[in-house]
Symmetry: C2
């Protein structure tokens, strides 16, 4: 068993990184569109059931899309930033432990490998190899003891913008009919049609990209929209009447 | 270096599991309350700026809370279920690879350890130990190659309910003043006060539980609420006027 060629390793890592980011962008789009297609639709449908005008519905809907995009986007950004801070703090702490209590850290490596039925005489050389390579040792502890990956600093902003824009685009779909049809009870019909279509298509695509059965995913996604709008409809009626 | 005592290992794993679940419940509460305190508040504030009555605002607000709770809750539940399905599929695939192409799998283990500067003669015994223990080998590949943890089947429902309930409780806070004060322009003052307070307190608690500076977290959380409501206010004015 020869050791892995350095340039192969470098290429493999780069490929994994790009694959990783594309997957995260898809995940953020899914998060944004899922809520964006569902909540503004349900809110608008609920309000038309309560006899609000298209004008009020549009006002509420657009205000909700703005608020939701910021809550998810800005909230997601700050959460990613604090995860990055958390990673840095854990990194510094782990480095310090390696520097000041290396025997304890070595015992932790032993413990991790022992969990997999590896005997001391078998994992001993691995532990010693790590002890001689402080950078590798640190990376090993971060990944295998703490399960933390180094966050890409660009990702926080990228993630926030992706989710926010996805939410806005998702939210506009059910609201468009209300922009053109002033009678809400008519506009809602258009909204239901375009939104159910959008939910089915999006759900199908989501299933395809996440490796789940696309037809089942399409139906589930449309179902969430239906249940959410039924609940919004019911609550709006309850508050009004 | 003696091997870890079996009963100690069992206790350690159990402790880690409980710690892991408590952390996830806190995370779900944070997710639910963050959006719940922010979006209904901003929606209501935006609508009062557009001169809607407390009645309409309450209708829209409660409908939005219902829709949001279902979108996040049901959406989160189905997402967790599909993650569990994904894990099961990957588990079966990994098991099959171990059964049919063990040499390739062994090479993957070698590759993982080689990344940390461990030489073949050092990781060789570990690879052989894993090869002799198929269950441990499978667990090792799931965790160290794929980075997947076995999801607890109870967690999907628990997570969904936690997020949904947290969102509802968060959303009711800014809406309560509108239930008691029929003139929206007066109710909004009450809503702003209770919500800013709630955001600060919640943000502080969030910072405390996630190990980030609580005061900074409080301010950030209140800031998101302020920006979201400013955006909702602005959009509502734009649509109305």
């Amino acid at each position: 068993m020869g050791s892995v060629d350095e340039s192969d390793k470098y290429l493999l890592n780069r490929h994994t990184e790009n694959h990783f980011t594309a997957g995260e962008i898809v995940r953020d789009i899914i998060i944004g569109v899922s809520d964006g297609l569902t909540v503004p639709f349900a809110l608008a449908a609920g309000l038309s059931g309560a006899n609000a005008s298209s004008s009020i519905i549009l006002t509420a809907g657009i205000a909700e899309v703005a608020a939701g995009a910021i809550s998810m986007g800005l909230g997601g950004y700050l959460a990613a930033k604090s995860e990055a801070d958390h990673y840095d703090r854990e990194l510094r702490r782990e480095q310090e432990e390696i520097d000041t209590i290396p025997d304890t850290e070595a015992a932790e490596v032993a413990e991790i490998l022992a969990e997999y039925g590896v005997e001391p005489h078998e994992y001993g050389p691995v532990v010693n190899a790590l002890r001689k390579n402080p950078q590798a040792w640190l990376d090993f502890m971060m990944k295998f003891e703490l399960g933390l990956e180094k966050p890409d600093p660009k990702r926080a902003l990228q993630s926030a913008l992706t989710i926010a824009i996805a939410y806005i685009l998702g939210g506009l779909v059910p609201l468009l009919p209300y922009m053109f049809i002033p009678v809400a009870q008519k506009a809602v019909v258009g909204s239901v049609i375009v939104t159910i279509l959008a939910l089915l298509i999006f759900g199908f695509a989501k299933g395809y990209f996440t490796g789940n059965k696309p037809v089942w995913s399409a139906l589930q996604t449309a179902l969430i929209g239906a249940v959410a709008s039924a609940a919004a409809f019911g609550m709006a009626k309850a508050v009004q009447g």
